[in-house]
Assembly symmetry: C2
Homo-oligomer: 174 residues x 2
C-alpha cells in the first residue's frame, strides 16, 4: 500500500487537542494542500481563513457553540488552529468544492502528525452578524461566500486510535 493511501486509511477525527501551537510553516503546508483540491470547472472559488489568534479562535468557538445542538462548551475541542473553508455562492458546486478542500486539509494534517476534525456550522457562523463582522474586517463579502466547514487542527491529546470498522455493504459492483 502506498503512502498516500495509507494516510487515507489511518486518518481519524481527533476530538481532544493539546493547546500547543502549530508552526506557521506546517499550517502553510496544510493550506497549500487544500488549495490544490479539485473544483467544479477548476473555478477555485473557495477560500480559507486560517485562524490562530486566540481571541478570534475563541470567538468563533463561542459562535459555533451557539448553533450546536449538543451545546459543547468548546466545539473546537481545544484545537489552537481553525481553518475555515468558505466557497462562493455563485457557483453550482459550492458545498462540493468546499468539502474537497476540507478533505485535503484533514489528510495533509494527518500526514504531518497532527490531529484534525471537521466541525460543522460554518454556514450558520458566517451568516451570524458576529461572523459577518469577522468576514468584513478581512474584506470578504458575506453575500458572496458561504461557510462550508471548519477544519480544526492541533497536536492530539487523546487520539481516537480505535480501529472502528467500516460499515458493511457500501459497495456494489456492476
Amino acid at each position: 500500500m502506498n503512502e498516500a493511501i495509507k494516510n487515507m486509511l489511518t486518518r481519524r477525527s481527533c476530538k481532544s487537542f493539546k493547546s500547543d501551537a502549530v508552526s506557521e510553516e506546517i499550517i502553510d503546508q496544510i493550506i497549500e494542500a487544500g488549495l490544490y483540491a479539485p473544483s467544479g470547472m477548476n473555478r477555485q472559488e473557495s477560500i480559507i481563513i486560517a485562524v490562530t489568534d486566540k481571541a478570534v479562535r475563541d470567538k468563533l468557538s463561542k459562535l459555533n457553540a451557539k448553533y450546536d445542538w449538543a451545546k459543547r462548551p468548546d466545539p473546537f475541542y481545544n484545537a489552537p488552529v481553525v481553518l475555515c473553508v468558505l466557497a462562493s455562492r455563485n457557483i453550482h458546486t459550492t458545498v462540493e468544492d468546499g468539502s474537497l478542500v476540507m478533505e485535503n486539509l484533514m489528510l495533509a494534517a494527518h500526514s504531518l502528525g497532527l490531529g484534525s476534525c471537521w466541525i460543522h456550522r460554518a454556514k450558520e457562523v458566517f451568516e451570524d452578524p458576529e461572523g459577518i463582522e469577522i468576514l468584513e474586517k478581512l474584506g470578504i463579502s458575506a453575500d458572496e461566500y458561504v461557510g462550508v466547514g471548519n477544519c480544526v487542527i492541533g497536536y492530539p491529546d487523546k487520539m481516537n486510535t480505535a480501529d472502528k470498522p467500516r460499515k458493511e455493504n457500501r459497495v456494489y459492483k456492476i
Copy 2:
C-alpha cells in the same frame, strides 16, 4: 514534502482516457480509500457503485449526456471505470459526505498512476427513470440515496500536465 501531500499537489483532472481495463485489485484499493473518508457523525451513509461492465458504463454515459449542457457525446471521456458515489438523503451532510468520498477516490487513483475526474450530474442520472432502474436492480432505494458524483477512472491518454497556477488571494490569516 511528504508523499501524501505531494500526491495532492500533483493530482489533476484527466479528460482523455485509454480504453485499457483497470484491474479489479487496483479498483478495490481505490474504493477502500473512498470508504475511509470521514463522514458527519461517522455515519458512513455513502455508497459506491463500481461500474466496469461496458454496457452499463455506456448507458450511464448516455444518461449523463442527457443532462449535460455541453452535450458531450461521452461525458466520461472514454474512461472504462466509473465509481458512482451516492449518499443518504436522510442525513444533514449528504453532499459533504459524498464529496469527501470522491476526493479520496481521486487521490487514490492518482497515487496508483491512474487518471481520474469528477463528472457531475449523478443526482440527475439517479433520479432519471433509467437510473432508478439501475439502482433497483442492485437493491438500492432511490428514495434513500441521491447521486453526489461520478469518479471516472482509467489510464490517461493525454494527461493534463500543465501546471495551472492556483488563483491568488484565497488565503486569509488571523
